[in-house]
Symmetry: C2
Subunit: 497 residues, 2 copies
C-alpha cells in the first residue's frame, strides 16, 4: 500500500485501494443541501486557495468540494483539508481565517472520488499542465514538448460524470486553443455517450493571477480578471459566477472575444515578464564588464512611465509559470494552429532565464575564486521573496553547481524547513548557519528579514568574509556598511573602473 | 560650387569655399558681451531645438551659437536660422515662440566656422553617430558596424580650439564608453598640443529624451534627465548647467556614477523599447493565425501596472534612435570592453523590427491578393503619429515592396510634402488621394486627423474598397462602421475563427 506524507505535520497516510468516497460526499451534500455545488479540480497552489475563496464567496453560499488524485504527492492534501489543516504554508493571515470560516460553516470538503463531479453545478479546473523541457548541463534549452495526456484524462473524468447543464471554468494555464480544441470535444463526446444534450453545458476560460505570498487571497479576490466563453451564453454565466467570488467593484472584469483570446492573454502576460527578466540578464553581464551598477541605471530609467516595467537584474526565474508558459504558447502556435513559426523571443527568454544561475555561478568563481572546501551559506532558497516555494527555484541550479565544486553548503530560509525537490533540510534559524563562520555568504532570495538591520548586525559581527549578493538585496547604505569589514560583490553591479 | 536647399522654403544657397565667419561671430559676441557662450554642435532634430532651449534658459542669459558642417544637407540650416526661419517643421507652437524670442533677444546665431569653439564656455555635443547596418532584402540584419571617424573629427574640432576650462556636455547617443575612452583622450591630446592644462576642463554626459511632436520643447525642458561626469567636479558643473535650462522642479535630475553608466542607460532605455515592440511582432503573427484581436488582449493585460509597458502591434519601428541604439550597445560591449558576448536580444529586436513591414506586406497579399495594377493609397508616411519625420520610417520598406508588385501608389501625409530619403512628392490634401478611387487604402501612420470622423465620412463615401490598417488606428466602433461598406483587415487582428 502506498503512502502519502503530510508536508505540514509529517503525518503518514496509507492510500486506500478502494476509491469510493460516496458516503462522505453524500453526508457533506446533505449537510449543505440547497447550496450550489462547486467542484475545484486540483488542490495545488491555485486550486486549494481557489476552493477557500469559493467557500467564502461574496454573494452566494456555495458547497465546495476540492478534488485531487489519490497519489503520493496529493492524497495527503485531501486528508489534511478534512482534518482541519490547510495544506499550504503562506504568509497571508487570510488563508487561515478563510479556512477556519469554511470549517465553521462546514461547506468545504476534499475528496479523491470522481463521483463528486455528478453533483457539481460548477467545475473549476485548476490542475497542472506541464511542459517537458530538455536542457543541456549549462541549462540551455534544447527542446520541449507538451504532453496533454493527463489533462485530457482530467477532462474525460469531468465529462463522464457531470450534469448536462454544468458550468466548466478552466483556470489552468493551457496551450492557447485548448478550451476550444481539447476540452469542448472531450466534454461533448462524453455527454453524447451518456445520451445527454450538448447544448446545455457552459464552458469558459478565465485565468487566475495568483501571487503566493502575503496577499495570496486578495490576488484572487481583488485582482482584475480576464474571462471568455466558448459562446456568449457561456461567457455570460462565467461573468455571473465570477461576480460572486471576486470583488468586481475593486477590480475590473474584462471579457475577451473567445477562449483562444484569454488563453493567449495569459501566456502573453507571462511571456512578457519572462522576456523582461531575460533582457535584464544580458545587460547585467554588460554592466559587470563596463563597471557600472545596473540597479541605479534601472532606477534612473524607471522614472519614465513608459519604462516602468524594466526589471532589475537577479539570479534567475523560478516558480511554476514563467519557466514554462512562453513554451506553451509557442507549442500551441505550431501544434494547434499549424504555424511554421515559433515564438522565438519567448523561447529564448525561457532559455536565458534558465541559464541565469549558471552566469551567477561563473561570476562567483570570477570574483571570489575556487570554492573547494570553502564554507558557503545560502540565505534563501525560495524562488521569490517572502514566499516558501521552491518549485523551479533558480537557487537549485546555483546550489548544485556549488556542490559540484566540493564546497560545504549551509542553507537557510525562514519559510522552508524541507526542500522537497532536492530532499534537503533547510535551517530556519539564521544564527545556526552564520555560526558556521562562512567563507562566502550568498544572498539568494529577497526575504524581507534579510534586509532588516538585525540581520546586517549579525553579519557585521562575523569575521571578515565574502558576500555575494545575487539579487541586489542590500541598499547602497547597507553595502557601504558591509564593506567596512567584508568584501561584497553584487550581481549586475560591476566594480567601478 | 555646391548647393544646399532649404527644406522649408526651397531657397537655394551656394556653399562658399571660404569658411571664415570670424567677423559675424565677433559681431554676435560683441552684441552679447558679458553673457556665457554656449556652442551647440549639430543642428539636427536635437541640436536645433537644444539651441532654442539654451537661448531661452530659466536662470542665465546665454549667448548661443549653433554650429554644423557646411555640407549640402546642413548648410541651409545655418543660413535659415540666421535668416529667421527655423529649420524644422513641428507641431509644437513653443518652437516658434522660443525662436522668435531668441531673435528679439539677438542671442542665437548659427555658423559653420569651428572658430566658434574658441569662445565657448559650454559646448553641447548633439551630432549624429550612425550605425552601418547590412541587411538582406527581407530586411534581416546580417551585420553591423560603428564608424567613429566623423565623431572623432568633431571632438578634435572642439579640442583644437576650446578654452582650457570649457565644459563639454555630450548629448549624442554614443556607444557606452565613448566619453571616457574617446572624447576624453582626444580633448586632452589637443589641449596638450596647445600647451594648455588638462585638469581644468570639464566633461560629462547627459542624454536627451527628445520626442519630436507637439511637446517637442517640453520633452527637453520638462523631462527627467540622467547625467554624469568623468569626475565629480565635472558632474557638479553639469548639474549646475542643467539646472539653468531644465525645470528641475517638475522633473528629476538623476546623477549616475560615471559616464559609462549614463551612456548605458540611454541605449538600455531604447533597447528596452525596441525589444518590447519586437515582442509584439511575434504575437501579432500568432494572433492573426489564432483568429484573435491582439489589441484587445493587450488592453486587458495592460490593466496590470507590472505590464503597462506592453506594446500594441504595428507596422514597424522608425526614427533615428530605436533602429540603431541597441546595436551601439552591443558594439561597445565588444569593442570597448572586450566582451566575447553580444547583446543578442537587443540585436534580434532591431532585426525583427526592421522586418515588420515585410510581414505587413505578406499579410497584405494574403488577405487582399495580388497588387498588380491595383491603386493603393497610403495614409501617412511618417514613422510616428502627428510628426513629420520620415527617417527610417517603416512605411518606406512597405512602400518599396508594394511598388515592386507594380501597384499604382498615392501617398498622403499632412505633415510632409516632400519625402527627402526617396525624393517622392507627398500629397497633403487627403481628398486628392481618395479621389483616385483606390482599390486598397493602407493606414500607415497614426496621425490624429485620420482618426477623426471627418476622415471616416470621406472613406464611407468611396466605392466599396479594401482597407488595410497596419497600426490599429480605428476604434472597434469605427471598424464596425467601415465594415458596412468596405472590407477591413487590421494587422495583429485575426479573423475570428
Amino acid at each position: 500500500m502506498k503512502q502519502s506524507v503530510n508536508a505540514i505535520n509529517n503525518k503518514i497516510y496509507q492510500i486506500p485501494s478502494e476509491l469510493d468516497d460516496t458516503k462522505n460526499l453524500e453526508d457533506f451534500l446533505e449537510r449543505n443541501s440547497g447550496k450550489k455545488v462547486i467542484v475545484v479540480q486540483g488542490l495545488g497552489f491555485v486550486g486549494a486557495v481557489m476552493a477557500l475563496v469559493c467557500a467564502n464567496s461574496f454573494s452566494e453560499d456555495y458547497a465546495v468540494i476540492g478534488i485531487d488524485l489519490p497519489n503520493e504527492n496529493t492524497y495527503w492534501k485531501i486528508k489534511s483539508i478534512n482534518e482541519g489543516i490547510f495544506p499550504l504554508v503562506a504568509d497571508d493571515p487570510k488563508i487561515d481565517q478563510f479556512f477556519q470560516k469554511s470549517i465553521e460553516k462546514g461547506n468545504l470538503y476534499a475528496t479523491y472520488d470522481p463521483n463528486a463531479y455528478k453533483y457539481a453545478d460548477i467545475v473549476i479546473v485548476d490542475i497542472n499542465l506541464d511542459v517537458q523541457k530538455e536542457s543541456n548541463k549549462e541549462r540551455v534549452l534544447e527542446s520541449f514538448d507538451v504532453d496533454l495526456t493527463g489533462f485530457k484524462a482530467a477532462m474525460a473524468s469531468i465529462g463522464s460524470k457531470c450534469k448536462e447543464n454544468v458550468l466548466i471554468l478552466v483556470e489552468t494555464t493551457v496551450p492557447p486553443g485548448t478550451s476550444q480544441l481539447v476540452v469542448k470535444p472531450i466534454i461533448e463526446e462524453h455527454l453524447l455517450k451518456r445520451n445527454l444534450r450538448t447544448d446545455k453545458y457552459r464552458l469558459g476560460h478565465s485565468y487566475e493571477r495568483v501571487m503566493p505570498g502575503p496577499e495570496y487571497i486578495d490576488s484572487i479576490r481583488e485582482f482584475p480578471r480576464v474571462y471568455s466563453g466558448i459562446d456568449d451564453r457561456s461567457a455570460d454565466d462565467i461573468e455571473i459566477f465570477l461576480n460572486t467570488i471576486i470583488d468586481s467593484k475593486k477590480c475590473e472584469l474584462t471579457r475577451l472575444q473567445n477562449t483562444n483570446a484569454t488563453e493567449i492573454a495569459k501566456v502573453l502576460e507571462n511571456s512578457y515578464r519572462a522576456m523582461n527578466i531575460s533582457f535584464a540578464i544580458e545587460w547585467s553581464r554588460f554592466a559587470e564588464e563596463a563597471g557600472v551598477d545596473l540597479y541605479s541605471i534601472v532606477d534612473a530609467i524607471r522614472i519614465r512611465k513608459t519604462h516602468a516595467n524594466l526589471m532589475y537584474p537577479g539570479v534567475g526565474v523560478g516558480g511554476y509559470c514563467l519557466t514554462k508558459d512562453p513554451l506553451l504558447a509557442s507549442w500551441a502556435r505550431q501544434s494547434f494552429f499549424g504555424s511554421n513559426s515559433d515564438l522565438k523571443m519567448s523561447i529564448n527568454s525561457v532559455s536565458n532565464n534558465d541559464q541565469m544561475p549558471i552566469f551567477a555561478y561563473n561570476r562567483l568563481l570570477e570574483v571570489f575564486g575556487p570554492l573547494e572546501n570553502k564554507k558557503l551559506v545560502f540565505l534563501g532558497v525560495s524562488y521569490r521573496g517572502d514566499v516558501g516555494d521552491t518549485r523551479y527555484t533558480p537557487v537549485e541550479t546555483l546550489l548544485l553547481k556549488v556542490k559540484e565544486s566540493k564546497a560545504q553548503v549551509y542553507l537557510h530560509d525562514p519559510f522552508i524547513s524541507f526542500w522537497q525537490e532536492l530532499e534537503y533540510k533547510v535551517n530556519s534559524n539564521i544564527d545556526d548557519v552564520l555560526d558556521k563562520d562562512p567563507d562566502i555568504i550568498i544572498i539568494s532570495a529577497g526575504h524581507s528579514v534579510y534586509k532588516e538591520n538585525s540581520t546586517l548586525d549579525k553579519i557585521m559581527k562575523l569575521n571578515p568574509t565574502k558576500i555575494f549578493d545575487t539579487i541586489g538585496l542590500f541598499s547602497n547604505k547597507q553595502i557601504k556598511q558591509l564593506e567596512k569589514k567584508h568584501t561584497i560583490s553584487v550581481l549586475g553591479r560591476g566594480d567601478i573602473k
